[in-house]
Symmetry: C3
Subunit: 636 residues, 3 copies
Amino acid sequence: MLFFGGDYNPEQWPEEVWAEDVALMRQAGVNIATVGVFSWSNLEPEPGRYEFGWLDRVLDRLHDGGVRVALATPTASPPPWFTLAHPEAMPAGADGIRLTHGSRDTYCVSAPAYRAAARNIAERLAERYAHHPALAMWHVHNEYGTDCRCDTTAAAFRTWLEKRHGDLDALNESWTTAFWSQRYSDWAQITPPRATQYLPNPAQVLDFRRFLSDELLGAYVEQRDLLRAANPDVPVTTNFVQGGWVSVDHARWAAEVDVVAVDHYPDDAGPGAEEETAFAGDLARGWGGGSWLLMETAPNLIYTRGRMHAKEPGRLTRHSLGYVARGSRGAMYFQWRQPRGGAELFHSALVPHAGPDSPVFREAVGLGRTLRGLAPVASALPPVAQVALTWDAPSWWALQAPALPSADIDYPGAVRQAHRALFRAKIQTDFVFPGMSTGLGGYRLVVAPHLYLVSDEAAAAFRDYVAAGGHLVVTYLSGIAEPDTRVRLGGYPGAFREVLGVRVVEWHPQPADRTFALDDGTPVSRWIERVETAGAETISRYADGPLAGAPAITRHRYGQGAAWYVSTSFGDDGLRALLTRIAAEAGVEPVLPGLPDQVEAVRRGDLMFLFNHGITPARVGEVTIPAGGVRFTPAR
Amino acid sequence: MLFFGGDYNPEQWPEEVWAEDVALMRQAGVNIATVGVFSWSNLEPEPGRYEFGWLDRVLDRLHDGGVRVALATPTASPPPWFTLAHPEAMPAGADGIRLTHGSRDTYCVSAPAYRAAARNIAERLAERYAHHPALAMWHVHNEYGTDCRCDTTAAAFRTWLEKRHGDLDALNESWTTAFWSQRYSDWAQITPPRATQYLPNPAQVLDFRRFLSDELLGAYVEQRDLLRAANPDVPVTTNFVQGGWVSVDHARWAAEVDVVAVDHYPDDAGPGAEEETAFAGDLARGWGGGSWLLMETAPNLIYTRGRMHAKEPGRLTRHSLGYVARGSRGAMYFQWRQPRGGAELFHSALVPHAGPDSPVFREAVGLGRTLRGLAPVASALPPVAQVALTWDAPSWWALQAPALPSADIDYPGAVRQAHRALFRAKIQTDFVFPGMSTGLGGYRLVVAPHLYLVSDEAAAAFRDYVAAGGHLVVTYLSGIAEPDTRVRLGGYPGAFREVLGVRVVEWHPQPADRTFALDDGTPVSRWIERVETAGAETISRYADGPLAGAPAITRHRYGQGAAWYVSTSFGDDGLRALLTRIAAEAGVEPVLPGLPDQVEAVRRGDLMFLFNHGITPARVGEVTIPAGGVRFTPAR
Amino acid sequence: MLFFGGDYNPEQWPEEVWAEDVALMRQAGVNIATVGVFSWSNLEPEPGRYEFGWLDRVLDRLHDGGVRVALATPTASPPPWFTLAHPEAMPAGADGIRLTHGSRDTYCVSAPAYRAAARNIAERLAERYAHHPALAMWHVHNEYGTDCRCDTTAAAFRTWLEKRHGDLDALNESWTTAFWSQRYSDWAQITPPRATQYLPNPAQVLDFRRFLSDELLGAYVEQRDLLRAANPDVPVTTNFVQGGWVSVDHARWAAEVDVVAVDHYPDDAGPGAEEETAFAGDLARGWGGGSWLLMETAPNLIYTRGRMHAKEPGRLTRHSLGYVARGSRGAMYFQWRQPRGGAELFHSALVPHAGPDSPVFREAVGLGRTLRGLAPVASALPPVAQVALTWDAPSWWALQAPALPSADIDYPGAVRQAHRALFRAKIQTDFVFPGMSTGLGGYRLVVAPHLYLVSDEAAAAFRDYVAAGGHLVVTYLSGIAEPDTRVRLGGYPGAFREVLGVRVVEWHPQPADRTFALDDGTPVSRWIERVETAGAETISRYADGPLAGAPAITRHRYGQGAAWYVSTSFGDDGLRALLTRIAAEAGVEPVLPGLPDQVEAVRRGDLMFLFNHGITPARVGEVTIPAGGVRFTPAR
């Protein structure tokens, strides 16, 4: 069975609406509802006084209607009474200003009072519902990712640092505190990054982000263990959310959830939405080791910058099946019914303000039918791909530092561009996580964009991979620093110098509007560097600009394999051409040969999903896919 | 008599300048001076120690010179000593940071200490000057519109909320606090919107703006009553200022002032300044029930974004007479004499730094003469127009929320555009205030742009108006929500569905640079929506884009009248053409037939004002108006 | 001898690197190292516990290697322990938020605890190293220029104000506190500019900047006196840094240092870098009375907005010799060795991450050789120029006020443009400081752009200069106000009206994209004004726009000289043509006649430096200068 459903907030509606909800869910084939995500103030309106009656009725009604429940602990948003009882548990910014309730996520995750209150409400829910027949899974909290810089946080940070660094000398060394007179002579002097006069210490900033990820994970694990103890048979998860501000390294969290659950909101209203969907699905599958669950997406809207774009007819279906094809156990949405009030009153829903007599609800009904037909595929995983991309949250974080050589450095942008190039080349792609113990051995080609922080162990693993016959592509800004941000000396790209057979002696970041040509005519921009080969052969050179004549792309035969270095930034077409060539050399095959540009093909189990993202019908073998449509064929 | 004068700040000048001031006022025909607006620290330099001697001399001197006085209470800017005596009465931002003196407007209007000090200085002034022969009116405070989020304010807000909502259950329901776990279980938990983690509750934000308006009004009324008690014959007012940040609903304040006084500063240096002048005059006349007073404008500058534009010769005159034609009881300026120092040392004045031997003073002398000639018109009001536009401050405020479907939504922009279209079509326009008890009956046509919040009563009034033969134009984003921001379900535009005979099931906000065509060729942009007719006839359809073929503009015969729905955003030319057509259907006539584009005609009493805003002479009937000039003819 | 070297931070490196450092310094000919700039936490890791051993070894090692030392007091960055011991000595912003350590410069310069700790560490260093044989000079602190608004600062500000203004009445008058009710009745009411409701008082803001400059100077002088007392033979300096945020009036500081030391970082990657280098060198020479020292610049990078531009080969040499030609006693860099960590880990260095086998180090070796060859010039000063430009920090500060007539006003931009025009006209330029007692007598031409604040004394000096035969060019926004920002009445440009023989009655600031023509065809933009001549002759008029026909440029024969008024803003070409014409009238000669555009010539002592900034070889007389190269010829 594939899950189909989404967030359901009956507490926002009079009870007479609930009956219509269940009837409409049945009409649409909805089989799961996420309940209780932000219900704390309705479950515990005053400290220690609980109101579970309404939730009992909701769960029973859903159960009677054949809808299972992902029951949430409501700890992402403490009630207003919590603020008044525990002002010290409110989060504080870098400037020391404490936030207050009035939105959501107002808590300091390190505050003992918050942790105790969160454990308590989770335990009350576990006690009452752990054996409820409707319960399909626990959904802990919501989108972990808050930040606090208060004194309680500082104390927790210091404890974490002591465990990581051992003693102050090691920390001083790792953070280069000799710079700008920052040497610590007592643990008590160390705080989170706070408002200060000028640039912060990047090693301190990075360690703080790692700490926050671990601290939030600790809060999750605490709840998970309580819930598991109440009924070990119910899987527990929490929904991962992405974004530059989120201090969570999901690759490290994945081991602690029973299923990787992901919220995904593409932000491009054009064809980019489909490429973002593919990217999100592949990355989530990497975290989940093949399997995962789309926990939230917007049914009929794409949230672009400053504008809610209405999806075209069929696009809800295409996106939803895109996630499923890439391994999701279902398709779930935020949310079931569009609210009448609250901060997100125009957020997308399956049942919009206009009611079920609306395009989105009609499309949902059809989608539910399609998903029921796909039930057999639910237990199958997509095959392991031949190509892997690296993803490394600490490198991303480190490349958000303020005083980098260029303000245009964009870690996720670089990974997304590489994924987009492979997507357009119809090559299926996995993700690997070099900071973890992911093996590279199974892949014919590994692509590492901007892999800035690399440990000695990871560097060795890449060397071994290539020596054993693997193909590796490394782009500029990779291998630069040790995991604590200290630069590797002697020439960039430090950790990769040996396997790449190159040495970079100077960076030449460029304004975005300046373009150079390689000697094969390919335009490049934004970044060029002075590369000296040291074993590698030069594949192409800069044809103009300050580095005219110098190597731009190199290939190094190393053991049984080959390692490519890309010292500059390509446009989408150039990168697609380059990766297509390298993939061919590495023996990588496309998902299906001869696919039209507008068609995406993804194999899951013994089914091939064929998506036509174009505005005209497309033909693949015997199959005609209507414009904007999806078809299924048996996989080879 | 028409007032001619402006703000006069003799306390900034040595006493020897005062004689020259009065002489120059006489030369220019100035007959009123606003005195004392920011004089608190000079009137009460230490708590309880008063220095009235200088003001006595100023008033006597003005009186001797034949200049009357709008005497201000100086409460908009407490002296520095007040900050030190009452730090708790300084305003605090959403982040809790208290401001301090050093500018103006540094007070929390809810602070008892501030209110007491303000009443006291107002009373001292009333005692001393209520029967001064120069006194023409009281000018309370200045440009009410401050904001504070401190604990004192919070307490006042809660009192206001209790009165509005009755009990907590009603408030929780009205604010949809079930969303994001915001349910309040004690009044003490409620605060003004403060720094929080993410989006605020829009109903809380809107109620806080309403509260601020009422709270400021309370402070005004307190002073007004004291002044009235001292001499019931002297009219009392306060100068209204507009701007997105001002939490004052002037339509509700108008009933509490003896004359609606308005500060107006256009911000467009091009022809837009004349259109803004017309808009401001019409809106002020609406507040004032036909009559009002221009209390401040800049004599010779237009403050555009980042630049002080010098008005072209004749423009001071044209703008000033523009206000008068639209019902102002005079023309007053900020300010009389340009200061040597202070934060606004380059603000415009009738006597600039260069002195009276200057273009602005020379034009002022001529304008004074013209105004004296217009004295007979002073007691006449402009006629009631045939068209009314709606203006609703709470809708504006609600459409400033952060998570709307499009960041381009611009309530005042939409109303201004509709006014501009009518202005260019030479159609005189009134304003009505649907949140108030304004009648619609007198108008042939009512235009409601983005009338987002509509009560059941207001919706019924619109239906009755149309049923009785009125013509109504409603644009998208109207009728969406109840006055507390809760969305009306079943399809947009909720409150207007019946009278319009349409149902909107999906919004499609668009990027500003994307243009679509209607089937009559008119270009539209920024917003389109999926309209289903339910009784209405389709007037034009979308010719391209995602909604090609669907209705764009509809007309619904309803009772004796007709109601038009406009589901998209036009350019200025398109809107002018559309409103011209609808106005013709409604039997609306232009002010004068056959006016050249560059000429504006406004009737007041039995006089027709003819403004030539062009750079060539224009002819209207027998009359030739020189470029940039103004002429008067008898009105029909 | 010319200094060659830069900042050296051995405390960031293991001791085994030090030997390589000295060896590489010898290889490059480095003869000076700035040591200890940010070493406080390494010198005094806990309050009162000192670790001088490492510094002893560094100085001895440098001395043994023939490298002299500019020894810094480390007071620009107190150690973390200082924050915990003296939270009240951390700087506070205008909003009252105290910053904390974690970067650099975290101190309130008025805090007694900071001042005591700074004196103490300076004294300890003086005690230990004042007679060290390696010691070439003391380098106090680093780039003075911090800001604090705390209560301690407020008290110091009041003391400074009492000294400046005498009594409160004078201050109230000078600050025009009658405006907006800001009259002070007690000194205790006065604070630094702090978070307030709206625009601040510009006179208060300007006095606060003056106070900060003096307060920081006091902190410097305290240290200097201690160091001098320890060994009167060692020169003492501090490195001046420029920037809009720096509250230091370097012209006033120059008298307190033994050598004017300047940090200079151009920010234009194009040819502007060379023009900025010339500007910085000329301005520094003005401060230093002919001689100065480049204390820091980036060896191989130009820090443009958002991007670190790598210098082209030869540019390090060209820039370095550019400073020397304009009077610098050497060429010093930030920094010797690129760090592995810390906030500036990608900041430029002579020994980069790649190590000495790198383009920058190789160029440095050659440059060291060249500088040794130039040793004879070290004792010579450049000749006094025939043209002087005015520079006035208080005018700059005053023109940063928020409510000026145009947001485009750019004081340093205007001075730089005038300098650039003269640079391109091959005219050598000095700087004079009208707020100081600089004489003007020696110059044939003085150019005063935007000289906004002018005292009566300075105005008289300009009149006397012209009367005695000098030529003066004054641009708009000059002479407007007295030094306390109070506007001079009767017509702009107040203080210069008499000498210029003009009277300006109206300003017409213009949007940047609107261009007008003068009657000779020259395009102008951004600012025009209504000029009335009063003795001056009109040189050119506005040909179009609102002031068509009115004077734009005037010349006034005054005594034996002539004074020109420029009422508008030219492009670079127009200004170069105008200043070339006026210079010719004034009898000014270029450095060398007939220089190609791409060649810069600067005379120092009996040597002519010839810089070819072009990309083709250039010929000057007998000499061919290769593209990007430098040649020396005997000066006439």
